[in-house]
Subunit: 338 residues, 2 copies
């Protein structure tokens, strides 16, 4: 049974929502969790509700890295921060994967410090799971975009590896046996996007191991055209934050409508199913976190605003990825190309 190290102190709603998510997992699954953080605070939250003590252990960490701290500096000044203690627990073999909703920079830098890149992997990638419209019944409503910030600028060789890593992850974790891979570009034509993207397109077309659908454009991100979309970290990060920003604006507008006028509240209720469909496209909190790919160990990053449900989902995803040996799958995919 996998053991998941969960950073109890990372995230906007830590430790309360993190601990509650883990408590829920302990009652409903056979996954063991190592809750890493301020022992007294973690234990106090645990005691507020039901949990299965046989599936949870607490590992004390006397420090925490705040969401807005500079990650480079915090890594030096808070060497006993919960996220770093959790990473070391996995590196030492005391747990199998890390889940954190904390400071993204610290998560990525920490993974680079305590985990090892898989043989042949040039750069790690932070992937993001994002909602989209589906094109056929049964299609996964989530797609994977990588990189979203771990590697600012990429060469073609790195984009190829991101495609292989994302494909291996989606094959195991999504409902897609043969994920469709797209290259984020400024036009569908193969010759678009400058030298790096043209080379990446050519090399992806030549890959027998993946189902490359060609270049995809910004609007394809919200459609079902590709299950895994690869790009350099700069553009991926801008896209991710824009998607989140659009979602926030929509939620603000709906919220303002609901608060201001009874007639709008009635209208919203009548529209509940329609709103639900938009909500499913914009609710980044309900699903299970985004993997950092390329290391020998797994890291699932939750959104900073995650509540218990998202944390529980992330822990389940991490456990599934461990059971399905995702790092070995990725190593095989990368190795098969060299």
């Amino acid at each position: 049974m996998p053991i998941i190290a969960v950073d109890a102190m990372g995230g906007d709603h830590a430790p309360e929502e993190i601990v509650r998510g883990v408590a829920d997992v302990s009652l409903n699954t056979d996954i063991d969790c190592l809750l890493v953080g301020d022992e007294a605070r973690v234990q106090a939250v645990l005691e507020q509700g039901p949990y299965n003590p046989e599936r949870i252990a607490v590992l004390h960490a006397r420090e925490a890295i705040a969401m807005d701290e500079d990650a480079h500096e915090a890594m030096q000044s808070h060497r006993d921060a919960s996220i770093l203690v959790a990473l070391r627990a996995v590196a030492d073999g005391r747990a199998d994967a890390v889940v954190s909703a904390g400071n993204t920079g610290a998560c990525v830098l920490g993974a680079a410090k305590y985990f090892r890149l898989l043989p042949g992997v040039r750069r790690a990638a932070l992937a993001c799971v994002h909602p989209r419209m589906t094109e056929y019944p049964g299609q996964d409503p989530l797609a994977l975009l990588l990189d979203v910030g771990a590697t600012v600028r990429c060469e073609a060789a790195e984009l190829i590896q991101f495609a292989l890593m994302g494909s291996a992850y989606a094959r195991r974790i999504s409902k897609v046996p043969n994920p469709r891979i797209g290259l984020l570009n400024m036009g569908r034509e193969d010759a678009k996007g400058g030298a790096t993207l043209v080379e990446a397109n050519q090399r992806l077309r030549a890959q027998p191991m993946i189902d490359f659908v060609g270049n995809v454009e910004g609007n394809d991100l919200v459609r079902g055209m590709a299950d895994v979309i690869v790009c350099e970290g700069y553009v991926g990060n801008v896209v991710l934050k824009l998607l989140e920003g659009m979602a926030e604006v929509l939620q603000d507008v709906v919220q303002a409508a609901a608060e201001r006028k009874l007639v709008w509240r009635v209208g919203l209720r009548l529209l509940s199913q329609g709103i639900e469909r938009v909500h499913a496209l914009t609710d980044f909190s309900r699903y299970g976190g985004s993997p950092i790919l390329g290391f020998d160990r797994l890291f699932i990053k939750c959104h900073g605003r995650s509540h218990a449900r998202a944390v529980a989902n992330a822990v389940k995803v991490a456990a599934k990825a461990v059971r399905d040996r995702v790092p070995a799958e990725i190593a095989d995919a990368i190795g098969g190309v060299r």
Copy 2:
């Protein structure tokens, strides 16, 4: 009085909606328009409704470039295409600016062929006007993003010029006397985004002529933080198409809701003001087109899906830009830095 050359054959709804937009302008303003396209078809549409014949002339062009044609090839094979005839009319001094809703690649390549870069301008930029939430009453609900596809990858010097050009344009065309400029990046901190963006950030901070607010992130695009946002063409193009894609998905969902169920139609009616606010954020057709900046002549590009209202707005924007001598403003801004 400015004369605007309008490509009557470019756009998903050409020539009908284009000609209708120009007819409307002829009745309600003192702007003269040169309608460039298939004379018989243009005249036939004109005769369907009221227009002021004193303000409209038709310039025949026997060819047109389709929306999905390869721009490079079409430039060679359709030398008498309406967009190229319109560009030559402006280059020859028979008109002052071009408006087109046609093939974007042909518009950009055509402008590069028939217009001249202003002294000192390294690369032209295609700007896009996009809706966003406003932060204070009276703020322009539209912001300018450039480049969105004319220059795939940029050096710092080009990003600086885009900021100067965008600022000059917004000063004249928007309601903002001192536009706030943002650099699209993957974090607010000055050190983010790799060497090119770090250098661009430093040089923008040192510019006395513009109000640089620093790095902005993807989510800031839908907020009111900056009035002009600069980036390389690759990421700008992805962002623009993602914004459009989100808008289409939302409109589809609302449309589907309205069609399927009476109770949803009632709900939508009750929510009409709230929907209107979302609609204002997502309706790319109601406003007036996006400038290609950096040339001695003006080009206003309309969205391919533009209807008469958007075309009329674009013609008015083009006329205002000519009257306000926007190219000279841009030349001054660029010259002041060299």
